[in-house]
């Protein structure tokens, strides 16, 4: 069993981020959407817990000396939610995927293109996709392909932690199987990325009842 998260990475005060994020009633029960969840996580870091000297640490960086904007920047650099908003409609998939990393200057365009090529070449995408997949516009893609593009964007933007939020109500059994295949495909190629699965779909990794800090595929 591979530990997906090192819980020491996720400590705010004496509580883990997932614990704070999943407090019952924190945002209307468990019916969280991505935006709510992101806000709760941000609150967990910046608002709910008083920042005290030596008490708050995120990826080895002391947060108490940082202004709120600095904390947000650090958070965005290290952690992304999958499905974090729609793809930009007038950019092709390649530009969409590279956008956050390039605008935030986390990597050079050449380096990112190489990473993306490594991910997309070999014709072993988890689902069938046209050969010109990176150059298609979002509206030309199927749902699962769009989801994959969102996941790639999340991975390239914040390679340290990717939070995956999915809801069983919208997924058929076949789609759940597809999602698992997609996760496994990406995890095999990105062993350095930590994954936090936030879902209660039967058959998918993770779940609200267990400790999310130690979820594995």
């Amino acid at each position: 069993m591979n530990t997906v998260f090192q819980s020491k990475d996720l400590v705010v005060g004496d509580r883990s981020i997932p614990d704070i994020a999943l407090e019952p009633g924190a945002c209307g029960g468990w019916q969280l959407n991505d935006a709510d969840f992101a806000l709760v996580v941000l609150d967990g870091i910046t608002g709910l817990q008083p920042v005290q000297n030596g008490g708050t640490c995120w990826f080895g960086q002391e947060l108490s000396g940082l202004p709120e904007s600095g904390i947000l920047r650090l958070l965005c650099r290290t952690m992304t939610l999958t499905g974090d908003g729609p793809l930009i409609a007038n950019l092709n998939i390649r530009d969409n995927v590279m956008l956050p990393a390039l605008v935030r200057r986390t990597d050079s365009e050449t380096g990112l293109l190489r990473k993306l090529d490594e991910l997309l070449t070999g014709n072993d995408l988890p689902w069938p996709a046209p050969a010109n997949f990176p150059f298609l516009l979002p509206h030309n893609l199927e749902d699962l392909q769009r989801w994959l593009a969102g996941l790639l964007r999340a991975v390239l933007a914040a390679p340290e932690i990717v939070m995956c939020c999915h809801y069983p109500g919208d997924l058929s059994v076949r789609e759940q199987a597809d999602l698992i295949r997609g996760f496994q495909w990406l995890r095999a190629r990105l062993p350095g990325t930590a994954w936090l699965f936030l879902t209660c779909a039967p058959g998918l990794p993770g779940g609200f009842s267990g400790s999310l800090a130690e979820v594995s595929l």
Binding site: G85, P86, V103, R104
Partner: protein
């Protein structure tokens, strides 16, 4: 307080609220101009310049040609065929004031409305919120390249428009009227263009461009949800943009006195 007073206060409040919002967007854009050098933002800037500038050239060339011809011909008639006075008035009224206003209005109507509706659509589809959540400041990616693109294209288009206005307009006028083209050009150039005048003109067109970009971006990003969001944002951007251009033009006139 009478009803009229209350109405005046409301109008003043509306004006102040919008003016401060546009100034905030302008300040945001200027602060984030360095970000335009990053590849995705640079692409937005180049697209904006292409859309505003290059695609506008055919229409603006024709407009400049016909405006130059009609204005110079009409002035020539009104001035009782006094070429010197005609050229002087043409230079100060048509070339220095009118041409810049025509270009600014054209860019506002064509590109300002496009920017406003594009950003309003982005906002309605959740793309702006997505940028925030990805750690991208919309001022870097959405506002700064568009404002800078408008500044560059309005300045360049104004110079181009003025050149076609004079060369083409005088040429057409000499063809249809009893007008000595060489003499008219000589008199026009005799008036000269001082470096200060050129700089002032560049500053003026840049300000017009910045206002167009800021008004369009602000209205687009402020669009409300629902079917009325995009049309209202577009309409308000165009109306406010025209008002801002006329206001700025008046301020520049007063400054140049």
């Amino acid at each position: 307080m009478t009803l009229a007073h209350r109405r005046n206060w409301l109008i003043a409040g509306y004006f102040a609220e919008n003016a401060s919002a546009y100034l905030r967007v302008l300040a945001d854009a200027f602060l984030h101009f360095p970000a335009v050098l990053r590849p995705p933002c640079l692409r937005v800037l180049l697209k904006q310049v292409y859309f505003n500038g290059i695609e506008s050239l055919p229409f603006l060339s024709l407009t400049a040609l016909l405006l130059g011809f009609t204005a110079s011909s009409r002035l020539y008639q009104v001035m009782s065929k006094d070429l010197s006075r005609t050229v002087d008035v043409f230079r100060s009224m048509i070339v220095q004031e009118g041409a810049v206003l025509v270009v600014a209005f054209y860019v506002m109507a064509r590109s300002g409305s496009a920017i406003a509706s594009e950003l309003a659509s982005c906002k309605q589809q959740g793309e702006v919120a997505a940028l925030y959540r990805m750690g991208i400041d919309p001022a870097e990616y959405l506002i700064a390249p568009r404002v800078l693109g408008c500044m560059l294209s309005v300045s360049a288009l104004s110079i181009f428009f003025q050149i076609v206005l004079v060369l083409g307009g005088f040429a057409l006028a000499s063809f249809f009227m009893e007008w000595d083209y060489a003499l008219a050009m000589k008199k026009f150039l005799h008036g000269g263009i001082s470096p200060e005048g050129a700089l002032f003109s560049l500053l003026k067109t840049s300000v017009f461009g910045a206002l167009i970009g800021a008004v369009a971006c602000q209205q687009g990003l402020r669009a409300v949800r629902g079917p009325q969001g995009i049309p209202v944002a577009t309409r308000t951007a165009v109306v406010h943009g025209f008002a801002a251009i006329v206001l700025a033009s008046t301020v520049f006139f007063l400054l140049s006195k």
